[in-house]
């Protein structure tokens, strides 16, 4: 296959778009793991719930895309907090495996319920009229909606990173993970903070779900297909590292995009090959601190 510069740039851009989804999803996972030490396998399911929430808002309440971007993450985030309060809370201090099994089971149940009522082929969700159409960049036709996805995801990623790494609230949060007893002694309600953080992580996944609803069909299994790749992203970036997962999310999107161009048959394995290579060289991930 001959390689042309325009075609290559187009693939890079498309990879960046997919990378924004990986980044948003792995960001939520990293926040939850970093702060709560929970390996949240229900992440794909809440991503799917975000998309379904947007669909219900539109088709039952007539609420469009823009309000859904705010409402869906809040609704699903509250669902996440209820889940944390009623179930995950009891696993504090136990081995990671318990959290993983619980959330994995929950994911299967949630997906099963949605599939039972809505089938597997999915429901349509249209691109909002303001973002329809596209622009010709010379080397490719960029749908405006995809451009919006990159911008939106970048802004959210950086804001989350800033909130956790650079603000006082974020400092409390990080301190609470290090030593909850001590932070409690300063009069801070640690369990509530943990619940809110889980809600935030889940909300981020739901936001990614709303963003993806107009691109993919709103399907019960849309998250299950994605979650394994997103886990690879988190592992490569270093479990719990916020900046690590953002950067890895975007770069893996690009690597995958290039593979789709040069050797498409390998496109759904390349991420895992990369993961193996990284783990061999840096077992704690690219930006992870060995503990």
């Amino acid at each position: 296959m001959s390689i042309s510069l325009p075609a290559l740039s187009a693939q890079l851009l498309v990879g960046l778009i997919n990378g924004s989804f990986y980044a948003l999803l792995s960001l939520g996972l990293a926040v939850i793991f970093g702060m709560l030490n929970i390996i949240n396998f229900a992440h794909g399911a809440v991503y799917m719930m975000g998309a379904f929430c947007a669909y219900f808002l539109l088709n039952i309440f007539g609420i469009g895309y823009w309000p859904a971007l705010i409402i869906a993450p809040i609704v699903v985030g509250i669902f996440g907090m209820v889940m944390e309060r009623t179930m995950l809370k009891w696993l504090t201090g136990l081995d990671h495996l318990y959290g993983l099994l619980l959330t994995f089971g929950l994911a299967l149940i949630i997906q099963g319920i949605f599939q039972n009522y809505f089938g597997s082929s999915g429901l349509p969700y249209a691109i909002p009229s303001e973002l329809q159409g596209g622009m010709n960049l010379g080397f490719m036709f960029l749908p405006i909606y995809r451009g919006w996805v990159i911008v939106c995801s970048l802004v959210v990623c950086i804001a989350t990173w800033y909130a956790i790494e650079r603000t006082r609230l974020g400092a409390y949060l990080r301190a609470a993970t290090e030593n909850p007893t001590l932070v409690r002694a300063f009069g801070i309600n640690v369990p509530r903070m943990i619940t809110l953080t889980y809600g935030l992580g889940v909300g981020l996944a739901a936001l990614a779900g709303v963003l993806s609803a107009p691109i993919n069909q709103v399907r019960p299994l849309m998250g299950a297909d994605l979650i394994i790749v997103v886990f690879a992203v988190v592992v490569i970036g270093g479990m719990g590292s916020i900046m690590g997962s953002i950067i890895t999310g975007f770069s893996l999107g690009i690597i995958e995009g290039l593979t789709k161009y040069f050797y498409p048959e390998a496109s759904n394995t390349v991420v895992f090959v990369f993961m193996v290579l990284v783990l061999l060289v840096k077992p704690a991930g690219l930006t992870g601190r060995a503990t």
Binding site: Q11, Q115, G119, S120, S121, N216, K260, S267
Partner: protein, 406 residues
């Protein structure tokens, strides 16, 4: 001593009478629906295939004739190894007589071997690969509903005739996708067209933009979608997003089911050409069946051609059993009977099962309606062409099936 002898005599007599009864009148049948109950194809087969099988059992009237019919089902998860494991267990331990649906070509080709080895029956409705009745044909397999040869000829030649003489394929990277691409390539070339290239995407891809850009860059007039289920709907939806149809290229959905078009919505799917062998709104017979079917399904979806094939195929199987008088538990023998008697059911009309196992009935070319033309949620197709049964499928003269004597 006397007691022992009489007991022995009684025992022998009992044994003979039981065995004799079983020989004369074995009217037990066990049907196994093997399908995708949880994955991307579960709308076009899945639970609907089980409902179709239940309806076939009820509508066959076999119970009134003294038959006892059991139904089991399992999820093969689109994995050939899981499917062959289930098939072996069903046939060996559970004494299942016939495996129905078996969608997904990769799965079907694997199960095909098991069924032949164990002299059971595969009544295939959901798989596409035309190899099932070509090089891989067996005396134990019937491929009832459709195949890639039919799809390629019906949709492919219609598109070339309409001026689409250069093609680029977006192909699902497994047995079915490859078969569909090859069959369509042959049709396009035979009609004087050219294939400019193809790209093979892994099964269950969420984002097709990368492949669509390659298809766009090829400048081919037609982009052939040699994929199925969620892969097809995602690629069509994203092709609209990338302005591919607006840019003058046409999409050919080489295998699309009613469930796919319904899921896409008419806004995105309108104008697409596709081929099927069954549509719910063809005549009173299909409408009556479909209405009953939708009422029984949780999602209330209308049946796809795969569901229709499971129903009609099983009805035909029961007819053959009825003609044989009892269940011989001999796959090849029952299949031979099924090939002998003509098929006739309300969904596919009159037809036959050919020597190579191919179900013969007409194929229909449909166009997806515009939103303004549709009168209901499932009012999706208009009929634009019919290929008679004897021309819709691969002619026996081209067959590489060992059962066909040239």
């Amino acid at each position: 001593m006397k007691n022992t002898i009489s007991a022995l005599l009684l025992g022998t007599a009992l044994a003979f009478s039981v065995a004799g009864g079983a020989f004369a009148q074995d009217k037990n049948v066990k049907i196994g629906v093997l399908t995708d109950l949880s994955g991307l194809y579960s709308d076009l087969g899945g639970q609907g295939s089980i409902v179709a099988a239940e309806m076939a059992i009820e509508d066959s009237g076999m119970k009134a004739k003294g038959w006892k019919i059991d139904l089991v089902s399992a999820d093969h998860q689109n994995k050939p190894d899981i499917a062959t494991g289930i098939a072996r267990r069903w046939i060996d331990t559970d004494k299942v007589d016939i495996l129905a649906d078996v969608l997904n070509s990769g799965v079907a080709l694997a199960v095909n071997n098991v069924v032949k080895e164990k002299n059971s029956i595969m009544l295939n409705s959901g798989a596409g690969s035309s190899e099932l009745t070509n090089t891989q044909c067996t005396p134990n397999t019937i491929h009832f509903t459709y195949d890639t040869y039919m799809l390629a000829h019906s949709t492919g030649s219609a598109m070339v005739k309409a001026g689409g003489d250069t093609w680029f394929f977006l192909t699902a990277d497994y047995a079915f996708g490859h078969a569909l691409e090859n069959d369509t390539t042959a049709v396009v070339k035979a009609a004087g067209g050219k294939v400019l290239g193809s790209v093979k995407a892994p099964l269950n891809t969420a984002d097709f933009s990368s492949y669509l850009l390659q298809a766009q860059a090829s400048k081919a007039k037609v982009i052939g979608l040699a994929n199925a289920g969620g892969d097809t709907t995602n690629s069509i939806k994203q092709a609209a997003e990338f302005g591919i149809v607006k840019g003058g290229q046409k999409l050919a959905g080489l295998l699309m089911f009613l469930s796919d078009v319904h899921s896409l919505g008419l806004n995105v799917a309108q104008g697409l050409n596709l081929s099927e062998t069954f549509y719910w709104d063809m005549n009173d017979g299909t409408r009556a069946f479909s209405k009953r079917f939708a009422e029984r399904l949780k999602t209330h979806a209308m049946p796809t051609m795969v569901h229709a094939g499971v129903y009609a195929g099983l009805l035909h199987y029961f007819k053959a059993l009825d003609a044989l008088g009892s269940n011989p538990h001999d796959g090849a023998k029952v299949v031979a009977k099924m090939k002998e008697i003509p098929t006739d059911d309300p969904l596919f009309g009159k037809g036959s099962i050919r020597i190579d196992g191919r179900g013969i009935h007409p194929a229909y070319l449909f166009e997806v309606k515009k939103p303004s033309e549709s009168k209901g949620e499932y009012d999706l197709y208009k009929l634009i062409g019919t290929t008679p049964g004897d021309q819709a499928f691969r002619p026996l003269s081209e067959s590489k099936c060992p059962l066909v004597k040239h």
